[in-house]
């Protein structure tokens, strides 16, 4: 019986690559703002949103995506970006940039 040191283990069980961004909208404030994130082309990107107000999440990729945010916790929006570039994700009504994702 041999024991396997953690460093010898393969990472076959690592979760699939995806970028998860937690967004909180409360009282007209949003966190984060202007977050600088990185992702690869076609990698799933998930925005998990807790909000107390209705808004729209705009993803300025090619082509663009737009999601309706409701006033409730635990909403989740997933998309992928196929064309490399810097993608701004903004809240339309609050007029705030949540994050800029560098996709390459």
């Amino acid at each position: 019986m041999t024991t396997v040191a953690p460093s010898d283990m393969t990472d076959q069980q690592a979760p699939p690559d995806r970028l998860v961004v937690d967004v909180k909208i409360a009282g007209g404030n949003v966190t984060p703002t202007n977050a600088q994130l990185e992702a690869s082309v076609n990698e799933p990107i998930v925005f998990k949103v807790d909000s107390d107000a209705v808004d729209e999440l705009h993803v300025h990729s090619n082509p663009e995506h737009s999601y309706e945010i409701e006033a409730k916790p635990g909403q989740s929006f997933q998309f992928t970006v196929a064309v490399p570039g810097k993608v701004d994700v903004e809240l339309h009504d609050l007029n705030k940039t949540v994050a800029t994702i560098t996709v390459q």
Partner: protein
Amino acid sequence: MNADGSVSVLAHGLGGSADLPIPFTYALIGAAWALTFTFAVVALAWKKPRFDPDKPGRELPPWVTAAVDAPATRWAVGVVGLALAVWVGLAAFLGPQNSDNPLPGVFYVLMWVGLVAASLLFGPVWRALSPVRTVHRLFGGKSLRNYPEALGYWPAALGLFAFVWLELASPDPGSLAAIRNWLLIYLVVTLAGAFVCGARWCARADPFEVYGIVVSRLSALRRNRDGRIAIGNPFDHLPSLPVRPGIVAVLSVLLGSTAFDSFSARPQWRTFIDETAGSATAATLINTTGLLVFAGVVAGTFWLAARATGGVDREQRRRLPGQMAHSLIPIVVGYVFAHYLTYLIERGQQTVYLLLGMDADVNYFLSLHPSVLATLKVGFVVAGHVAGVVAAHDRALRLLPTAHQLTGQLAMMLVMVGYTFTGLYLLFGG
């Protein structure tokens, strides 16, 4: 906060993603080439001026000039320009009031960047296409008085600033209402100017025509003294830029605004705006100040560098910035292409499809090949820089007294290196 018809707040009101920053090594290699070329030109290159705007180019066959200048061609092109303007106007008011409206693309891509490409390839095309000129001619081309010569290009510099202000500093650049209002004001001012001061108003005060004239000086196509269309060395063509009051301001607005475009997209600047500005008005004020500072720094450094030479009297020194202004043209053009090439090619396709009501897929070749794109961008900036340095060197040989030809160029070369390093730094993203 956003007016009706708003499409998006960011990215020049066009939506979509922005270019990836260029890799650091690309910026570094570009900077090294720019620096090497500059000193090679100043220290080792020719000592007698070589470029002469009076040197005739190689004449194209006479029928080319005859065909281009035929009244029928002029009217046909003018009517096409007018028809396009009416079509875009109809689309602006009656088309879908959302991101499917072609107006922002026509305004920010075709009129701003497409104009540069067309003027570079074919010469000052806006002169022939301008809907205002065509309307003015349809009404007999009369005028009440002459254009006040003292105004020079200042009205155009103001108009160009108004354009970049809408794009980079106004609260909502993507708002269809804002673009429509801008264009209506432009049409009213330019038409009134044309009917009061004649067609010369269009040549001096229409921002798009002056932008086109400036860029066309880098074109290989030109007219000889006798009016024949010819093809020749763009370096002979550059010094034919008319030197009028406000020409340095025109070029400074173009270069400074392009730099501010990259700068204002940086996260540090956006965070600063978010934290400092309590309202959209305050954000607009800060961005307006930023835009003015960028254009002002370009104008100030260029003005000082052009005058920083010995051996000239006061009157000569006063004229130097205008006489050197043409050497900024290649830098502006290189910079515009480095920043807006993907806009021109990818958003350009999108805009044409929207305008024609076609449902075609945009080809994203450039964005999909970031290293090709980065190489092109650095190539444009460095080529523009080298051409600017060559033009400035040659002009200095013609203008400066022999004893000051080497030292008199140094300040200008350093300023140009400064523009190029800043440009590469902004493309690299800091």
